[in-house]
Every structure is written in structure tokens, then in C-alpha cells.
Point group: C2
Chain length 214, copies 2
């Protein structure tokens, strides 16, 4: 069952791979982003070998633990177990939420991606703790993300489940985050708007400001 | 540490997805293949949604359990846990063998793919129970398999680790299996040579005969 205790946790939701950017490692980017006000970190790496993802992921998990914010892993519950993550975020093709929970336990945070009302129904029925809804805007960060769907679905999901925690995802940055929040999302999930900026800390702070001002 | 108790278990090693073929389900193909003499089944499905892989995988696991042969899952230790598999088979990009063992326990069968001597060294150092060596011949079943490498590497690995259980994989069928065994493999791993045949049982029996005659 979803929990409204996640509402504050979902304001600035960072999705990161382990690749780093320019002269910074992924851990350095996460450290800066957390200092700027990120409230949750999801590790999502579809490229790197898992032998490399593991040490980088442990470093990011430690940063999150020190900062007191949740750390979740995309897709793979096995990786989440090995990284002692707080949960897992699954897509519609991945493990069903209730199967992920069997592996990670009742206290794990299980998030599910939804791009349609039917996908949202399925996720809620499966016991998702929160939804990632999108892609709200066009995105280049996630190659399989599909067509942008705007903010309507967020409003419809909010109206159907008033207490369900949810974040918008897909092409969101400081300049276009406000309509996502106005539609009823607790927060915004971003990749490049933080990880591919020259100053990840100030990018995170900018997003945190938008969330605070709503 | 690898175990020579696996030697007999590795003679006819079936790799299957959950797609089925023509009028047969994957479980029907596995049932026929087991009746024909398959000695281990690996579930490897990179296409289907995991919500569909789970029920199909449970059916295949039950068949293997009834037949008293091991059932392993490709790549994902989380799926292996949910399917109560006997182990996992990992590629070089997947979880390192020793991390997979942390999740599945000391008795799990952990196999590792190797296409070079360096990859074999890494796998043995990581505590692989057996190796899958290839692609021996050209294959269309596995899109990311790379160039065929022939049987030389099998002979070199056999000479370096005389007791290490290993199977050849990649483009192997009844007509070209003998050189793989002659090079020192305990057995042959096949996909289409069983799963895409009109009579999977007799295809498996043909391969079992080749293994028995060596």
C-alpha cells in the first residue's frame, strides 16, 4: 500500500547512472546534488558492466545514507539487495512490484513507472509505494521512454488516488517543473537536469526552490 | 570452487526462453527435451516482460524438479530467487559470480560465460562452478554473442584446469557436437538445436547419444 510518508521524500528525485560527467565521477555529482537539496536518489545504469556498477553504487548508497535520504535501484532487485538499497524502482517490463517486495521485504520502497492510466492501475494493485509518471516532456536521457505525454495523466492519477505519492519524470528541469507540481505531483524526477550540468549543486537547489515555492 | 560433481550434469544443457515455438509452449518443449535426455535447463529470456517470464519459469522449474535435473536462470539472481532456481548463469557484463553466490547461497550452481582465456581466469577466480565457453560456431539465437571462436579455447581451458566443468555453446547441434566434446567439454549447450525443432525430444536424444558415444 502506498504511504503518504513518502510525500516529502519525493520532491527532488535524482536518477543517475555511474558514468559521471566531464571531470566529475557519479559519486561527486550525487554529493553535490544532495548538498543542493535532492531528496531521493535512484541508480539507473543500463550501460555499464555490473562489476563496475557495484562499487560505484556502494559509494552512492553511502552518500545517501550519510545524508539520511533514500537510495533505490532501478529494475534489478538483486542489485538492490547487494547494494543494501532502500528499495527498487520498476518499469512495466520489470519485476512486478509485489514480487520485488517479496525479495526486498515489507519496508522496502517500491516505485513503479506508469505512462497510462491502465499502467497506474496495475502498479497500485501491485502495491506500489509511489509512481513515476511520464515521460512528461520529450527526453533524450532515456532512449526507450516513448512519446511525451504532458501533465494530464498526473492530474488524472491525482484525482483518482488523492494520497498516492507520485513524481513526474521525463525532460523536466527548473524551467518547466512548476506545471508538473501544479498538476498534483509531489515532486520531479530528473536525470540530465542535474547530472549533466556544470554545477549540479545549484541545479538541484533550483529544483528544490521550485518545489518549495509551489 | 568448481565441482567435478557437475560433470555428468552438463552433458545436454538446454537454454530456453519462454516464447515457445509453433504450436508448443516453452514448457511443452522443455518436457519433451527432458524426456529426450536433457541434463540441465537454463532459462534465458531477454524479450518477454518479467510478469510473463515468472509463471512460465515456475512451470519449467517444476518440470526440472520432477525430473531431478538442475534449473538455472540467466543473468538475474532476483529472478533465480523468485523462481527458486538451483543457480544462475552469468555473462561477463552481469553480476560477478561471487556476488551472485552471496545472494543465492553456497550450494547454488553459478555458471559463467567465457569467450577468452582472460574471461575464463576471471570466472575461475570468482568461484564459478562451471564455464559456458563460446560461441563455438556461428549462431543466430543470441544476437550479442560475437564472432565464432571454434574449439581451441575449450582445449586450452581444459589443459589449464583439468577438472573444471565446462560446456561449449553457440551454433552447436547433433552434427557438429562431437568436436566440442573431443576438445574437452563435458557437454554442449544448445538453444535452437532443441527449442526450434519439430521434434525436441528426438533432437535432445540425438545430442545425448553424441555425448554418450564420445
Amino acid at each position: 500500500m502506498y504511504r503518504s510518508s513518502l510525500h516529502d521524500t519525493l520532491s527532488v528525485y535524482l536518477v543517475t547512472d555511474t558514468a559521471g560527467y566531464e571531470h566529475r565521477s557519479a559519486a561527486e555529482i550525487v554529493r553535490a546534488a544532495v548538498a543542493g537539496g535532492v531528496t531521493l536518489v535512484q541508480l539507473r545504469d543500463k550501460q555499464a558492466q555490473l562489476r563496475d556498477v557495484l562499487p560505484a553504487g556502494r559509494e552512492i548508497r553511502e552518500l545517501c545514507r550519510s545524508a539520511g535520504i533514500p537510495f533505490v535501484v532501478n529494475d534489478r532487485a538483486d542489485l538492490a539487495l547487494l547494494l543494501e538499497a532502500d528499495g527498487v524502482h520498476v518499469g512495466q517490463d520489470d519485476l512486478p512490484a509485489q514480487e520485488a517486495r517479496r525479495l526486498l521485504g515489507p519496508d522496502a520502497i517500491i516505485g513503479v513507472s506508469a505512462g497510462t492510466m491502465e499502467e497506474a492501475e496495475w502498479a497500485v494493485a501491485q502495491g506500489a509505494d509511489y509512481l513515476g509518471v511520464g515521460p512528461v516532456y520529450a527526453t533524450a536521457s532515456k532512449k526507450d521512454a516513448g512519446e511525451a505525454i504532458g501533465t494530464d495523466l498526473i492530474a488524472r492519477i491525482r484525482s483518482r488516488w488523492p494520497q498516492l505519492p507520485l513524481v513526474g519524470i521525463g525532460g523536466i528541469h527548473q524551467g518547466n517543473a512548476a506545471p508538473v507540481l501544479a498538476s498534483g505531483a509531489q515532486g520531479v524526477a530528473v536525470i540530465s537536469a542535474i547530472t549533466r550540468q556544470s554545477d549540479p549543486q545549484s541545479a538541484a537547489r533550483g529544483l528544490a526552490d521550485v518545489c518549495r515555492r509551489r
